[in-house]
């Protein structure tokens, strides 16, 4: 098991990076109920960890017993039947899924599954009707229609289920959905917090940490906790005991992007444009999301560009980042 998973805090009390949020969430669910929640923040900041810890707080260890289901949904869309396949993770208390996997059919998913869940309301020991929690990932990738139907179902079934939504950017979630949720912003952890986490792991693993080593990893991680831990573990695999100047393993695609950036700087011609395009195609073929490539490419270019060109390049990067959505 990777350290990222091994040392993931399972309870709200044990959370290191976002202690304050964790405590507030704990208070929120102390009465075994909560409003709809929307977690948003950059990748690797700990949204999902918080969600899982929250669920455990609400329902106890039962939520960790999940089963993976690949279910076919037959949806009557008026004129025709739509068949959709969706993978879900579910326990007795919650269901987790990626509705955007369904592509442009996502609104049916949202509607149908929530309906189904509302039908099978769990009954708790006291005979009181409980509620289920639906965890939806990548809500920002939902289509507009999907988000609209999400809004409707949120109201309709609010008695029987709670929604926990996760996304990177709340700006891509419609106003209507946002206003129906308690928005929780999960910041990227600061470098100090990351260092703290890394040192915690190091202690647990009984590692000798040279001074400044964790700080270097933290600095390189771009305030992404997951990435920091992953690269920490990579270092451990490659060379132990650690040395002060140990090279940190770069991510291959990032290196490739910086190669592209230097290609761009070296020569500007239609031919070069073509070869650069080929390289970007390759990254896309490996499922690196285009907006992430664009972002990385921009930051690499900004390192090398003259200051008067920076503004122009940023402008076009922003423009194309918008159009590739």
């Amino acid at each position: 098991m990777l350290w990222v998973d091994k040392y993931r805090p399972r309870a709200l009390d044990k959370i290191i990076a976002h202690e304050e949020i964790a405590q507030n969430l704990k208070k929120l669910v102390s009465e075994h109920d909560c409003p709809h929640l929307l977690f948003y923040g950059p990748t690797g900041s700990g949204k999902k960890t918080l969600v899982m810890a929250l669920l455990k707080q609400m329902f106890g260890p039962g939520v960790e017993k999940v089963k993976l289901e690949n279910k076919m949904w037959k949806i009557d869309a008026g004129t025709r039947m739509i068949e959709l396949e969706l993978t879900t993770l579910s326990s007795t208390h919650h269901v987790e899924m990626n509705p955007s996997d369904a592509g442009f059919q996502d609104r049916h998913i949202v509607q149908e599954i929530i309906k189904e869940m509302a039908r099978n309301r769990p009954v708790d020991t006291k005979g009181k009707k409980g509620f289920k929690v639906l965890v939806l990932n990548e809500v920002d990738k939902l289509s507009r229609e999907g988000q609209h139907s999400l809004r409707r179902t949120m109201e309709k079934y609010s008695a029987s289920c709670r929604l926990i939504l996760c996304c990177n950017s709340s700006s891509k979630v419609t106003e209507a959905v946002r206003s129906r949720c308690l928005n929780i912003r999960v910041n990227a952890p600061t470098e100090e917090q990351i260092i703290k986490v890394l040192e915690f792991i190091g202690k647990k693993e009984n590692l000798q940490l040279p001074p400044g080593f964790t700080a270097r990893i933290a600095a390189q991680s771009n305030r992404n906790l997951r990435r920091a831990i992953l690269s920490f573990e990579t270092c451990r695999v490659q060379q132990y005991p650690f040395t002060v100047n140990q090279a940190l393993p770069p991510l291959d695609w990032e290196q490739y992007v910086s190669e592209i950036a230097s290609d761009i700087m070296k020569e500007q011609s239609p031919k070069r444009l073509f070869s650069v395009r080929g390289k970007i195609y390759e990254l896309l073929g490996n499922c690196i999301p285009p907006e992430i490539i664009l972002k990385k490419l921009l930051s690499e270019l900004l390192k090398k560009l003259d200051s008067e060109l920076k503004h122009e390049v940023c402008h076009w990067a922003a423009y194309y980042c918008r159009t590739i959505q």
Binding site: M52, V66, E96, R144, N224
Partner: protein
């Protein structure tokens, strides 16, 4: 002499085929007559009768003596002419193989007949009268004084249906020459040959085939040397299908011809129809006549006459307001694309032809046009020479290209056509392509779609997107690289989309492996964080292995997708907008 339907026009007429007199039925079914062959053709002409196609009256004179039409028929002998269809471009080469003129040939007689033929030619080759005469004169010359080498060749070019083949047929028979037609064989491509190589078929290039054809003719004429008279005949060799142009026949002359036919056939065809047919035929008289014949069938009652109304207005627009850029660039005298007859001649071009037009971006030279002073002038930066083609939208229409396909092909190939220094052009082109792609993405990707939008607006958007893409390419590529041979590549994007879909499917199970199988992880973090890290675990190579990066990026190449259950889920739509325009 032979009768034939245009579609099955025979190759070289047999030297001694008997004269046939058509019966009424055959006649009505419309055939084409060819002139008799050889030197003895006086009497043959007598039997030439009316055919449904082109008609010409020929007064037959033989040695100055007038011949009366046979059997007292009122109608005069006529000559039917049809070309030999062999594709849109029909080229011929007349080549005289023999070096002798039949001495027995009566020059006076021939001259006389040539005079006769002139009449007929005037009628047939309305537009190309002088050209035909030239050809004929030339042939005559050659026959009188044959020369060695290349001078014995004449090249006749022109659009299909203007009557190139016919001219040669007629001239050759008038001059009493043997006509051998080189029927261009179906070319065997090298790939085909490789494919067939096991079956024992020998590869033969077109040139070799041609040589052997010539050889055959020589031997053939030697064989027939026994028939002393035949030997002396000059031979005209007709070669079709050589890539080289008769002017298209003018609208007016087509109209005249059609009217003539109508009179002959006593068909009551309104003048409007004739006008229309003539306009639509685009100078192809053969097509025009066939159309007319179709019109004359009694069952065709309704003719789309109303279409002539928008056409007129179109013309008015053209002449009245020259500032309309679109109509100005579409060129004058073009067929209004909105009009299509059920039997109409729709110009079709292949996708690659269209792409070639767009990519090569051929334009008039600056001095060839002069802007009218009253037109608003553009800044120099935006001004471009007029296009050497129809308006791009029209070309798109003819090519029946789908916007997505066209754009992908343009996107893939356009950079080859931008000259090396012109980085800015490359940028402009790509930014237009990006805009067009954005427009198209909003159609295909329902994320942007509003429920109220109909298919109609989608198709309009698709057209607009294609137009933006094509015009963007034409406008942006202001410094095209010097034209040379380019191969058009298949868009690599398609391949990449497939790869990306494939690797996405592989990643789907991986995201459950994280979080200790208690939760999902987003695909992007699998791709950007977990996978690279895990790779470090399993291949503890040198950290500084920069060189291997591009190779190591091919994670998915050696694995194959066995997880079919997830296949259906990932439909293509999610990748549609993965196009980068940098």
């Amino acid at each position: 002499m032979s009768i034939c339907f245009p579609s099955q026009f025979p190759g070289p007429a047999k030297p001694s085929s008997p004269i046939r007199v058509f019966d009424a039925e055959e006649e009505s079914r419309a055939g084409a007559l060819l002139l008799g062959r050889g030197g003895r053709w006086g009497p043959r002409l007598r039997h030439l009768r009316r055919s449904l196609f082109l008609q010409a009256r020929i007064e037959i004179r033989d040695g100055g003596e007038e011949e009366t039409p046979r059997s007292g028929l009122k109608e005069e002998p006529t000559l039917g002419v049809t070309g030999w269809a062999c594709g849109s471009w029909c080229y011929m080469l007349a080549y005289i193989c023999t070096s002798e003129i039949p001495g027995s040939f009566n020059i006076a007689q021939r001259l006389n007949l040539i005079c006769l033929l002139k009449n007929s030619v005037i009628i047939f080759m309305i537009s190309a009268k002088h050209q035909v005469e030239e050809v004929k004169r030339w042939l005559e010359e050659r026959m009188k004084q044959p020369k060695e080498g290349i001078e014995n060749c004449v090249l006749i070019t022109g659009r299909s249906g203007v009557g190139k083949s016919t001219a040669i047929h007629v001239i050759a028979s008038l001059l009493g020459a043997d006509l051998c037609e080189w029927m261009s064989p179906t070319p065997t491509l090298w790939e085909e040959h490789v494919h067939n190589s096991n079956s024992g078929i020998q590869y033969m290039s077109k040139l070799d085939e041609f040589e052997s054809f010539i050889e055959k003719i020589r031997k053939y004429s030697l064989l027939h040397g026994a028939y002393a008279e035949e030997l002396r005949k000059p031979t005209v060799l007709l070669i079709d299908d050589i890539p080289v142009a008769f002017n298209p026949i003018t609208e007016n002359s087509i109209k005249k011809t059609l009217t003539r036919i109508c009179q002959e056939e006593k068909c009551d065809v309104p003048a409007q129809w004739i006008d229309h047919i003539a306009r639509v035929s685009g100078g192809d008289i053969r097509h025009a006549i066939t159309s007319l014949q179709y019109c004359c069938i009694k069952t065709v009652k309704s003719f789309p006459v109303h279409e002539s109304v928008p056409n007129d207005t179109h013309d008015e627009l053209k002449s009245g307001s020259p500032s309309l850029l679109l109509s100005a660039s579409s060129g004058d005298g073009n067929i209004n694309p909105q009009i299509s007859l059920p039997w109409g001649r729709d110009e079709k071009i292949t996708l690659f032809h269209a792409l070639g037009k767009f990519l090569h971006n051929k334009r008039e030279t600056p001095h060839a046009f002069a802007l009218a002073p009253d037109l608003f002038t553009l800044k120099k930066k935006y001004a471009r020479n007029p296009l050497k083609m129809d308006s791009p939208e029209e070309v798109l229409l003819q090519a029946h290209g789908q916007a997505r396909t066209i754009m992908d092909f343009l996107h893939e190939n356009v950079l080859d056509f931008v000259s090396d220094e012109a980085t800015d052009s490359g940028w402009v082109v790509n930014s237009y392509l990006s805009d067009a792609d954005y427009m198209l993405a909003s159609i295909l990707h329902p994320k942007f779609r509003r429920i109220t939008e109909t298919n109609e607006s989608d198709s309009v958007r698709e057209l607009v997107a294609a137009s933006v893409a094509v015009r963007g390419v034409l406008f942006g590529n202001s410094h095209p690289s010097p034209s040379r041979w380019h191969t058009i590549r298949t868009p690599k994007l398609w391949q990449i989309e497939q790869t990306s879909r494939h690797s996405k499917i592989q990643m789907l199970p991986e995201r459950f492996a994280t979080y200790g199988t208690s939760s999902f992880c987003s695909l992007s973090s699998v791709a950007t964080e977990y996978r690279p890290t895990i790779k470090w675990f399993y291949s503890p190579v040198n950290v500084h292995a920069h060189d291997n990066i591009s190779e190591s990026l091919h994670w998915e190449d050696d694995m194959d997708c066995t997880d079919g259950s997830l296949e259906g889920k990932k439909s293509g739509e999610s990748e549609e907008d993965d196009i980068e325009d940098w």
